[in-house]
C-alpha cells in the first residue's frame, strides 16, 4: 500500500529547476531512502511535502489526500513529521519541553482555553509530561530530560530531534540527514533506532549521505541528480547502477560500498 505519492512534482527557484518532474511512491511501513549528490534537490522535496513551500507543479498526496497547498501546521495533523538537516531544536527549552511542544498538536485544549483556564491547561500539561517521558525513554534520552537542549551532546541533539518528531504521533517520519556529523558508533545506534521505529509501524522517508546507513536499512532507494530521478530500486541494484556511480563521480558509493 502506498502512503505518500509524488506525481510529476517540480520546484523552480527563479531560473533554477531544483526538482524536475519527480515521481516517488513511499510504501506504508517501509523505509525508503532518497539519495543524491549535494544540491540534488533532496531537502527541497522534503520542504514541499511538509508545506514549507508549495511545489511549482505536480501533486503530492498522502493516504489519498492532496497536501499541495496546506501549511506545515496542517500537514503535521495528517501524520507527517520531519527533522531538519541542520539541528533546529528549541535551544533554550529543556529536553522535556522540546518533546512537549511536539506533543501539543495532539492535545485538545485550544489556545483560548489555555489562556483563560490555566489550571485546566496545567493539569492537561501534567499528562503530556508523562507521555513525553515515555517517548524520551523510548529514545534513550530520559536521563537528560531536565537539561537545556543546547547542552546535549551532538548525537543526543540529533536523537532529540527525532524524539520531538515522534512526539507528534506521526504515521510517517521524514528524516533529513539524521547521521550527519555522527561518529560510527552513534550512527550504528541511529540505525537500530530507525529500525525500531519502523517496527512500531512508522513509514520512514530518509535522506542520507551515509551509504552504509542507507544501504543497510532501506527497502527501497530513489536517486536524485540535479532534480531528476536517475534511478530507483533495492539497495543492491542501486549500488551497481552505472548512472548512479557516474553521478557520484565514483566518490561516495565506491568508497563506502
Amino acid at each position: 500500500m502506498i502512503d505518500l505519492a509524488l506525481k510529476n512534482v517540480s520546484k523552480r527557484f527563479g531560473g533554477l529547476l531544483a526538482v524536475d518532474k519527480l515521481d516517488v511512491e513511499v510504501p506504508k511501513g517501509k523505509i525508503l531512502s532518497l539519495i543524491g549528490p549535494n544540491g540534488a534537490g533532496k531537502t527541497t522535496v522534503f520542504n514541499m511535502i511538509t508545506g514549507v513551500y508549495p511545489p511549482s507543479e505536480g501533486t503530492i498526496s498522502y493516504q489519498g489526500k492532496k497536501l499541495n497547498n496546506l501549511r506545515s501546521n496542517r500537514i503535521i495533523r495528517h501524520g507527517i513529521a520531519r527533522t531538519f538537516q541542520n539541528i533546529r531544536l528549541f535551544k533554550s527549552m529543556t529536553v522535556l519541553e522540546n518533546v512537549q511542544v511536539g506533543m501539543h498538536c495532539r492535545t485538545k485544549s485550544g489556545a483560548f482555553r489555555a489562556l483563560l483556564n490555566t489550571p485546566f491547561a496545567i493539569r492537561e500539561e501534567k499528562e503530556i509530561i508523562e507521555k513525553s517521558m515515555e517517548t524520551l525513554e523510548f529514545l534513550g534520552l530520559a536521563d537528560h530530560h531536565n537539561e537545556y537542549a543546547s547542552n546535549l551532546a551532538y548525537g543526543d541533539q540529533r536523537r532529540l530531534e527525532i524524539a520531538r518528531a515522534v512526539a507528534t504521533r506521526p504515521e510517517m517520519l521524514l528524516l533529513d540527514e539524521p547521521a550527519a556529523g555522527m561518529n560510527p558508533s552513534e550512527t550504528a545506534e541511529l540505525m537500530d533506532l530507525i529500525l525500531k521505529l519502523r517496527d512500531t509501524g512508522l513509514t520512514i522517508f530518509l535522506v542520507e549521505h551515509d551509504m552504509r546507513l542507507v544501504m543497510g536499512i532501506s527497502e527501497m532507494v530513489v536517486v536524485l541528480d540535479h532534480g531528476h530521478k536517475i534511478a530507483q530500486g533495492e539497495p543492491k541494484e542501486i549500488q551497481q547502477n552505472e548512472k548512479v556511480i557516474e553521478a557520484y563521480l565514483g566518490t561516495k558509493v565506491k568508497a563506502k560500498a
Binding site: 528549541f90 527549552m93 485544549s109 489556545a111
Partner: protein, 306 residues
C-alpha cells in the same frame, strides 16, 4: 531621615519605577521575540490603557460605585483597560504588521512608526492636548518601614505588577500556548512543522504584550495622578532600553532590565548630581552592550533558516 531610611526609601522608589518599566518592557520583548519587530506603537498602547482606565474610573466614580465596591472597581478598571488594549494590539498586528511579515525589515519598522504616530494623534484629538487628572483612588495614606514611606497605592501597584509578571511567567513556562509562543520565538519554521498555528500564537502575543502595557498605563495614571496623550514617549524610551539591556526577546531579561534601569535612574539622582540622570540610562546600556551585545540574558541571534 537617617541613612538607612534614606536607602530603604530609594530602594522603594527604584522598585516602584522598575516594576513599571519592566511591565512595559515585557510588551516590547514578547513582540520582538516572536516576530523580530520593535513595536514602536507600544508606548501609545500603554497610553491608551491609561486613558481607558481613566474613562472607566470616571464613569464608575460618577455613579458612586468606587466607594461602595472598591475592589470591584480596581478589577474593572484594570480589566477593561487590558481587554480593550489587547484587542487594539491584535487589530494593529492584523492591519499594520501581518501584511508585511514577508516584506523587508525596514517596511515593518516604518509601519510600526506610522502606527505610533497614528495612535498618538488619535489620542490627541479624542483626549485633548493637555494633562487629564486621574481620580485619586488611594490618596496619600501609607505605611512607614524603617523610616521610609510607601503609600497604599504604591504597595498595590508593586504587588499587582509582580503578580502580573509571575502570571506571565507561569503562562509562558507551564502552558501549552506559552510553550508554543517560546517555540515560535525560537524557530518559526520548526514550530509550524510541529503543528503550531503561528498566526494564532502571534495574535496571542499581541494580546498579552499590549495588555501588560495597558496595566502599566493605568498604574502610572493612578499613581502619578495625570495622563497626557504623549506620555508614552518617555516610557517607551526607558522600557525599550530595559528590553535591550535585559536581552530583547527574553522575558526574565525584560524584568531584570526594567529593574536595572529604574535602579540606575534612582541611584544616580540619589547619590550624584541629578542633572544628567537620563544620560546614565544610556551609558549603562552602551556599557552592557559593549561587553555582551545580546543583552544580559539575551541569546546569540544566529538561528539558521530554511
Amino acid at each position: 531621615m537617617d541613612t538607612s531610611s534614606f536607602l530603604v526609601q530609594q530602594l522603594i522608589n527604584a522598585l516602584f519605577l522598575g516594576s513599571i518599566y519592566a511591565l512595559i518592557a515585557l510588551g516590547y520583548t514578547m513582540v520582538y521575540g516572536i516576530i523580530e519587530l520593535i513595536n514602536f506603537a507600544h508606548g501609545e498602547l500603554f497610553t491608551a490603557g491609561a486613558f481607558i482606565g481613566l474613562i472607566v474610573l470616571a464613569a464608575l466614580q460618577k455613579y458612586g460605585f468606587v466607594q461602595t465596591h472598591f475592589v470591584l472597581t480596581l478589577f474593572l478598571v484594570f480589566g477593561m483597560a487590558m481587554a480593550y488594549v489587547g484587542v487594539l494590539g491584535v487589530a494593529i498586528e492584523h492591519v499594520a504588521y501581518k501584511p508585511l511579515r514577508n516584506a523587508s525589515r525596514l517596511a515593518a519598522i516604518l509601519s510600526a512608526l506610522g502606527m505610533s504616530i497614528f495612535l498618538s494623534n488619535g489620542m490627541m484629538l479624542s483626549q485633548g492636548v493637555s494633562d487629564r487628572a486621574y481620580p485619586a483612588l488611594f490618596g496619600l495614606k501609607g505605611i512607614t518601614i524603617i523610616g521610609a514611606r510607601i503609600t497604599y497605592g504604591q504597595v498595590f501597584i508593586i504587588i499587582l505588577s509582580l503578580l502580573l509578571m509571575v502570571a506571565l511567567n507561569m503562562f509562558v513556562n507551564w502552558t501549552k500556548l506559552g510553550k508554543a509562543m517560546r517555540a515560535t520565538a525560537q524557530n518559526q519554521v520548526m514550530a509550524r512543522m510541529l503543528g503550531i498555528n503561528i498566526d494564532r500564537t502571534i495574535r496571542v502575543t499581541f494580546i498579552i504584550g499590549p495588555a501588560l502595557g495597558a496595566a502599566a498605563g493605568v498604574m502610572v495614571g493612578m499613581y502619578y495622578g495625570s495622563v497626557r496623550f504623549d506620555m508614552g514617549f518617555i516610557y517607551m524610551i526607558k522600557a525599550f532600553a530595559a528590553a535591550i539591556l535585559g536581552g530583547i526577546g527574553s522575558i526574565p531579561g525584560a524584568v531584570l532590565g526594567g529593574m536595572i534601569i529604574g535602579g540606575v535612574e534612582v541611584a544616580w539622582s540619589a547619590f550624584l548630581p541629578s542633572a544628567w540622570k537620563d544620560v546614565t540610562t544610556f551609558i549603562v546600556l552602551i556599557l552592557v552592550l559593549y561587553f555582551k551585545p545580546s543583552g544580559i540574558l539575551g541569546e546569540d541571534v544566529s538561528e539558521t533558516r530554511v
